[in-house]
Point group: C2
Chain length 338, copies 2
């Protein structure tokens, strides 16, 4: 059994609870994983039950504030002080300064909790500080879903350890990729392609962070810190978006047998995020809303991982892989199954 | 420090020693990994030094039998009885019955050593038996390079744990893929494409196991056992090779906007390995000598991993990732870096 405090019950948090509930048998038999959710924290208050909340009942509630375990006004920081849990799972929200998530994560590690997060800003702003606290306190910090949801990009720290990653590049924003794909394949104008992406749920109602390149830039910052040992922030990268790409640009590229793509890169100590012309037979020439990350290695050439980089269940899947990883580390008896 | 017995000093074993030597600083600072190679076993005898062999000196030797630490006739099984090491690393050879590798791996686990192997036959013949011994003895069994070298396919057991893998398919043999690619893109006849693959070093002098599909079939057997919890052997799969593919077949497929590919699959309890017509825009339509594995998941769609699936340094990189994984499990002090 591993005990959790869950911060945030939006799309990701709710999907996480749903998977843990519906996959309970698979998770127990394959990974010895039996979660006990001691608290769920939202902005207006918290659900709390030291014996573990009933996940099935929870999912039946439209509004968790209607639960008998709901305590209005009880804050996440109060919960962290009051409740002892193995892992704090943070799937909430952060503004441009990384708060309130940053303080929540920091406080939880200071209380010796391991942390799992799907929240980007704390990690593209203050990765070094959080990593240092994790090391000082001897806790694990797993943040797969801050990058490409469940695509095991950050896991490459260990899974490609022997190959020795030397640089990273990728198509790190599905909305940008979808818009450019539609402009390329069906000659849609930018605005129409964006509208379609919004209608299909790929782009947010406010798609600014997607199309101005900042979302993708934050991801390459996190990748470079975690996998190349850098200590960068979003302020160390010059970011170009896709707003100014025209139908003419795309047609000109095609005549040179190239596609226009939004590419992020971490190489030779430098970060970049912007428009690139890539050959039509390049591994980066991936179409649709898919994401792609490619690791160049010292000993074994490039490795490419492709998958959906966004979505509630996708992010929750990555969060759950991180939770299971920590859980199997905590319980020696399961080590033979690693 | 982690102590190793290395079985086999051919292309993979030698590449492994070279990487451990040349990347010593990177491995120590990133993973706290400091290997002590206590013995290297070959068919004619073994090198042995309980204080750890000097890897740099070893690499300078053309023939390891000329080392002062060489003991002619000393067998791997004698070494396993005599020497205490954390991990037995098996990069040797096995015939169609899995021997001598199977007995070596089994004996090492019975002596409570963790094992890492790049040798396919023991695992596509007797996966269940070896896994059971590992569980009974509480040792780890890591075999990434038995499938696609350093492509972290078997690592998906944990890295995609949350997404819940439901089926697997892939292009699992680089020689087949190269031959079909050349037949498709340059209209080469089969025999000429095969000759080219041999000249370039993709195919073995005896390419039988590649082109008859058995090599790829062995890999999907191992993938299904490790990731889907099956207990299959190579005898449970009907295997088709690429020997009978003609130029006409390929042109006919092209007219339907399809490519001919050698595809392996594990789905709904069934294994397959053979020729398939795949749409030109399918994720399986990968060209050249690259390998590809795709995991369908219950919660987050498909995940595709692409990379080089063969070669001495590629296999050694996968073996080393496995060794590092075990090493970090053994030493708690490094856990915060996981």
């Amino acid at each position: 059994m591993v005990s959790l405090i869950l911060v945030g019950f939006g799309g990701v948090g709710r999907a996480l609870v749903e998977i843990m509930q519906n996959d309970a048998d698979y998770l127990r038999s394959n990974f010895g994983f039996v979660p006990v959710v001691k608290a769920i924290c939202e902005r207006q208050g918290s659900l709390i039950d030291d014996n573990g909340l009933n996940l099935s009942n929870l999912l039946d509630l439209g509004d968790i504030a209607s639960s008998p375990y709901w305590q209005a006004g009880l804050t996440t920081l109060e919960i962290i002080q009051e409740i002892k849990a193995d892992i704090l799972v943070e799937c909430s929200w952060a503004s441009n300064d990384g708060e309130p998530a940053f303080t929540v994560l920091k406080t939880a590690m200071q209380k010796k909790m391991h942390i799992v997060s799907s929240n980007k800003p704390p990690f593209y702003l203050k990765y070094g500080e959080l990593k240092q606290i994790a090391q000082e306190k001897g806790v694990m910090m797993r943040i797969e879903s801050t990058v490409l949801s469940a695509v095991p990009a950050l896991a490459a720290e260990t899974t490609l350890a022997g190959a020795h990653i030397s640089s990273i590049r990728g198509i790190l924003n599905g909305t940008c990729n979808y818009i450019l794909t539609r402009m390329t394949q069906s000659k849609l104008p930018f605005k129409e392609a964006l509208k379609e992406a919004q209608d299909l749920g790929y782009a947010e109602a406010d798609p600014t962070m997607d199309i101005n390149g900042k979302d993708a830039a934050g991801k390459i910052v996190i990748l470079s810190n975690a996998l190349l040992g850098w200590n960068k922030t979003i302020h160390d990268i010059k970011v170009q978006g896709i707003e100014d790409v025209t139908a003419e640009d795309i047609e000109r590229a095609k005549r040179e047998h190239k596609y226009i793509k939004h590419v992020c890169q971490a190489k030779d100590g430098k970060l970049s995020a912007g428009i690139e012309l890539v050959p039509m037979d390049s591994s980066l020439a991936i179409m649709g809303s898919l994401n792609l990350v490619e690791f160049e290695t010292k000993h074994a050439g490039p490795y490419t991982f492709i998958g959906r980089g966004a979505g509630g269940f996708e992010a929750a899947s990555g969060v759950l892989s991180d939770i299971i990883h920590i859980s199997t580390q905590l319980y020696d008896s399961k080590k033979e199954n690693l």
